[in-house]
């Protein structure tokens, strides 16, 4: 596109009104045209000033009280509010997981050994609905991410619910690592939804009391034998 045509687009570009292809043309041209860069700077000043043209209103007084309340909730327990709201859903989820687990395994193989193992795991999972919780906090890669782990030290299963996790690229999943004496055992794989939320049933090779911490990394689908990327979220057990 020629200089004159791009120059005509500068006012709309400063306002954010250019369509995608126009935007690309303008940005390409700006790299080599000082005149258009100066013109853009002028129109950006105008666009900034437009921010102050909204008719003046007084905000409702309760907004200050509401903000105080929300800050108090955030600081007392960063995930408290959402966890409480979801507690009922989580219990239902636990029960559903147990039922699904038991039903599937029952029809898959009726051997006594498996039935005994299912019974032990089912008992452990149901107990998790009332289990103590551990809060997990996102690392530098995902400072907003957090999670709640429901577990009993004597059990080998636990439930983890995570929030605000970054979305992983195609071909990748999250992998849970249970850490003991410098060793890392895989606790399971999971993905998160568009809001960055996900729930995973963790199965550990040893009772959870033997682990000192838990971490989550991004790994290829199918999992890795050991972590291959930085920790996204974690916490001490």
């Amino acid at each position: 596109m020629i200089h004159e045509a791009i120059r005509d687009l500068i006012p709309a570009y400063a306002l954010g009104a250019t369509d995608e292809e126009e935007q690309a043309e303008v940005e390409k041209h700006l790299k080599q045209c000082a005149e258009c860069r100066i013109l853009l700077a002028d129109y950006r000043l105008l666009a900034d000033e437009l921010l102050y043209t909204a008719p003046p209103l007084s905000a409702p007084l309760h907004l200050t009280t509401d903000l105080r309340r929300r800050l108090a909730q955030l600081s007392s327990h960063r995930v408290g509010k959402r966890v409480v709201a979801r507690a009922g859903a989580l219990v239902a989820l636990v029960v559903s997981v147990v039922l699904l687990f038991v039903t599937n395994l029952y029809w898959w193989n009726r051997t006594t050994a498996i039935e005994e193992r299912v019974a032990v795991q089912a008992t452990a999972i149901v107990a998790l609905a009332e289990a103590p919780t551990v809060t997990l906090q996102g690392d530098a890669l995902a400072p907003e991410a957090h999670g709640v782990l429901y577990y009993r030290p004597e059990a080998t299963v636990a439930i983890l619910h995570v929030y605000r996790m970054p979305l992983v690229e195609q071909g990748k999943v999250y992998q849970v690592w249970l850490i003991r004496d410098g060793q890392r055992d895989s606790g399971g794989l999971f993905t998160v939804d568009e809001a960055g939320e996900g729930t995973v049933l963790i199965t550990a090779p040893r009772p959870l009391r033997e682990y000192k911490a838990l971490g989550i990394t991004v790994e290829p689908v199918g999992g890795s034998p050991g972590p291959t990327s930085p920790r996204v979220i974690g916490g001490d057990l």
């Binding site: 709309a12 954010g16 009104a17 921010l51 409702p60 105080r68 600081s75």
Partner: protein
């Protein structure tokens, strides 16, 4: 004269360190400005309140996103509010409705507002918007406060794309000329 309190940069540093009182001071200072922008875009009290609170909570969680080298804090905060309100407008499946009434000069006398940074200049510009032909002003408002591109505007107003482009360009060129004239006059007035 009342103590203006700590400046924005100091308060933002305190917010980054987790100081809730600092955030509440910023809230007191800018809540009217943020709420007015949200209301202007959304024209709905409930939605505007939600967007206002979300903007301040975002500031609490991500105050480091503001880069002082890129301009004043108030401008950045209003820009964040504008985008948040436009996002909400789209989420609700609504369109921005341009102002139908010219500015009321009495609004400018609201005492709380006279303290606001850039308030006077912004309201002068608002008056100038109303000096433009209505079809040009409507396009500028729809583009800026409604988040519409050339193509969106053509579709929304059932106008040919070329007409939208030239009308928006002419409106902005005229507004810029009026604005520079106005600010030059102010400059003359203040220069010794």
């Amino acid at each position: 004269m009342a103590d203006p309190g700590p400046d924005d940069a100091v308060l933002l540093q305190r917010v980054a360190n987790g100081d809730e009182d600092a955030l509440l001071l910023l809230h007191t200072r800018y809540v009217n400005l943020v709420y007015s922008m949200a209301m202007h875009v959304l024209r709905d009290t409930f939605l505007a309140e939600e967007v206002t609170q979300d903007v301040f909570l975002k500031l609490w969680q991500k105050s480091e996103h503001y880069d002082p080298r890129r301009g004043r804090f108030a401008t950045w905060l209003l820009s964040v509010t504008r985008f948040a309100a436009i996002d909400r407008l789209r989420y609700e499946g609504r369109h921005f409705v341009p102002s139908s009434e010219p500015p009321n000069r009495e609004e400018a006398s609201i005492e709380d507002w006279r303290q606001q940074i850039d308030w006077d200049q912004g309201q002068q510009l608002r008056m100038l918007l109303w000096n433009l032909p209505p079809d040009q002003r409507e396009l500028i408002e729809l583009a800026y406060f409604g988040g519409m591109t050339h193509r969106d505007l053509a579709e929304h107003l059932h106008l040919p794309l070329g007409t939208v482009k030239s009308r928006l360009r002419l409106g902005l060129q005229k507004l810029r000329a009026l604005w520079f004239e106005e600010t030059s006059e102010d400059q003359k007035h203040y220069d010794p």
